[in-house]
Subunit: 487 residues, 2 copies
Amino acid sequence: MMKSFINYRFVLHTLGVTLIFESLFMLLGIPVAAFYGETQGYAVMFESFLVTGIIGVLLSGLYNRKAMHEAKKQESFLIVSLSWLFISLLGTLPYQISGGIPRFVDAFFESVSGFTTTGSSILSDIEALPKYLLFWRALTHWIGGMGIIVLVIAIMPYFKVAGTHLMIAEGSIGGVERLSPRLIETAKRLWFIYIVLTILEIIWLTVLGMDLFDSVCHSFATIATGGFGTKNDSIISYSPAIQYVITLFMFLSGMNFALHYFGFKGKLKQVFQNDEFRAYFWIVIISSLLLTVIILGYYSNDVEMAFRQSIFQVVSIMTCTGFASADYLLWPHNAPGIIFFLMFVGACVGSTGGGIKISRYVIIFRRIRQSFRRIANPACIYTIKYNGKPVEMSIVRSIMTFALIYIGTFTVGTFLMVASGLDFATSSSSIITTLGGIGPGLGLVGPVFNFGGLPVFDKFYLAFNMILGRLEIITVLTIFTPSFYRY
Amino acid sequence: MMKSFINYRFVLHTLGVTLIFESLFMLLGIPVAAFYGETQGYAVMFESFLVTGIIGVLLSGLYNRKAMHEAKKQESFLIVSLSWLFISLLGTLPYQISGGIPRFVDAFFESVSGFTTTGSSILSDIEALPKYLLFWRALTHWIGGMGIIVLVIAIMPYFKVAGTHLMIAEGSIGGVERLSPRLIETAKRLWFIYIVLTILEIIWLTVLGMDLFDSVCHSFATIATGGFGTKNDSIISYSPAIQYVITLFMFLSGMNFALHYFGFKGKLKQVFQNDEFRAYFWIVIISSLLLTVIILGYYSNDVEMAFRQSIFQVVSIMTCTGFASADYLLWPHNAPGIIFFLMFVGACVGSTGGGIKISRYVIIFRRIRQSFRRIANPACIYTIKYNGKPVEMSIVRSIMTFALIYIGTFTVGTFLMVASGLDFATSSSSIITTLGGIGPGLGLVGPVFNFGGLPVFDKFYLAFNMILGRLEIITVLTIFTPSFYRY
């Protein structure tokens, strides 16, 4: 009998280890519940831990870790897609056992939105949830931001053999120039930077007077570019200083993490000469200034206020965080349009943010410029350069293909939402906001509304869309193609 | 002194010849005016002829036709872009001299919309125009549909030297497999098919009881995939038989004209085995059946009626004609969404229709499928085939680049329209409908509304957008790049 080239036992084993990691994170909810005297929380988080942990242990027992082999591409795609589906499914347990989110579809939407760092919510009254659930909600962001598989690889030494394809499939090191020749070292350094940024933000927010609990939750949501807060009005009621600090950390989280590493090492030149960083920086500045001018009248010509609201919203949308410091739908008519376009931009490659990503736009833009130059002067050779080095045409082709797949996914999704009965602004913005992992949209899903009122089909489709977007589409879609299972 | 590599005298000479051709077409308005006793029309059309003709003769005198050389790429782009701008500018003369369209911006919009076969109108009361102006309006479609430069090349033997790049830049033979090794012969055969189709439709419509004048105007607008009619309610009040015939001719005009040539020659196999034709055929059928189901209730379960309205609108939008046999904005909520998506599809390469065009979608779709297959099985070689032949990767890359440029142009345009104060549905649909040369959009520019109420900036921008779309963007945009004027 011919043996299948996908080792399903290995796939399920890795899934199991991922779930064990998730179950351990669930235990963190117990001290939070204890601190706030929410006695119901003990049982909820412990039962969630038990169910998730037992499933994890059972699955991980299907494969002998000593037989560990390098994960094939197909295995990696399956592992990553299944892991993200199952951590989301089991991540609903705290919401479901506690009754905090009674309907399964809503709990699933919230859980997927957490892990994928989208930050779209079905909750209309966030503050009604107990603290330990709010903490779990923010924690799902933090787990998903850097990627749980990267964490597994960083911590479990025997996974180093399996690694490269797995990390690529999860998208967490896409575009991060290897920070170390050893994969496991790269994974560790990424998590190190991630933790340092989180701690720095917690300290700064606490110093500025934010409650420790809120500081932790908001920092988890910022560094992961998630967007789940602890207040019904997101960041609107916090002080200007806090809004600026959150803007800064959102901006940092939207950068390629390799640049943070260079920054820590004092190699600032490498940061400021990076093509993507420069484009990112200038798009933020120009869009913010443009918006400031547009909404100046709305804020009674208070320049500081208008600038703060502009840059907060621009950075929040571009980095795909999705916090709101103002309801941008109330801004004069053309401002929401600018917000909508920024949703398509996305953050930098190698960050925790989503979207098509800026470096891809840079390369596509240079490709278009090249094609115009070639038309005029076919005899000249124009190479496409990125960070001073020529880019191979096969890479340019892959990037263009990705952009077209992204646009195609957006189009099909919008079509399905329109067909399900939503208006056009709600349809298109709900798709781009979930695909990019942003959070709020336009129309019925604006920054002060929520996704709770959408039809059940739409909620499931949008949740699927979030996983699609988080794993950069191809990882997930490829497992639905027939050729995937062929030799 | 270094001589410029663009021979501007040659550019202006060709522009002049084009204008002389236009002026001769203007003379055709005089017998129409005479037949309907519209005595004002004599002077209007004759003065228009004189002004256009004199400018044409003066410009054409700048260059000695015996020195004719093969047009360089740059010269071709300049000639074609300038010709389309100037035939549109001088095409406003009949509207302006007669006072039929008093404001210049409106006359320019209407003229550009005519020549580019867009069919968007600023007129609220079409039937108030005299017959000779309605005739001129339909005639601009017919001139623009096949392309006035192709006509110049077909008729003026001394232009055969200059030809290839010129015809490519005008987009009229893009994708038409050369119908003859001799360019001039290809141009002649294209115009022959064009004229035969027009005459067939005129005869058929007249037999079905349409007035000869209306038959001629509607046939001009159909075969050119234009959309200007002679009635305020477009095709809504005509009989079902007439609606079916117009649907058929719109469908035929959306096909690659090379296939008509094969069809005339009895090579039906080449028609039905053509990848693009098959995709075109099935998109029309499937979309029409889907729409029939959706709007069945709206038409009181009258299957014939619902099917006729569906297929008419689907074919009209896909071929970028823009006639309406019903106000699709009144259809149940999700139907206009389907119409909007069809606006992005477009017709076949080598047809008179616009849009991204179906063969490009076919190749992009196959490229995406290839990229998925390669991910799963990198060792296998998957070539992209089109009509049974492998497609070179450089061509695939150009097609993807074109699609991204198209989407970029759409995005920038929508952004400008939103910034000018229009709502999102009106903005995005007015851009795609003018870029694709379709005609009606959604929102304020729906099939029973018109573009008359838009701000002046928007009208000019949309007119520019029509020329961009008609000349497939690159021809026009490239003359704005600095490298265009460098060696």
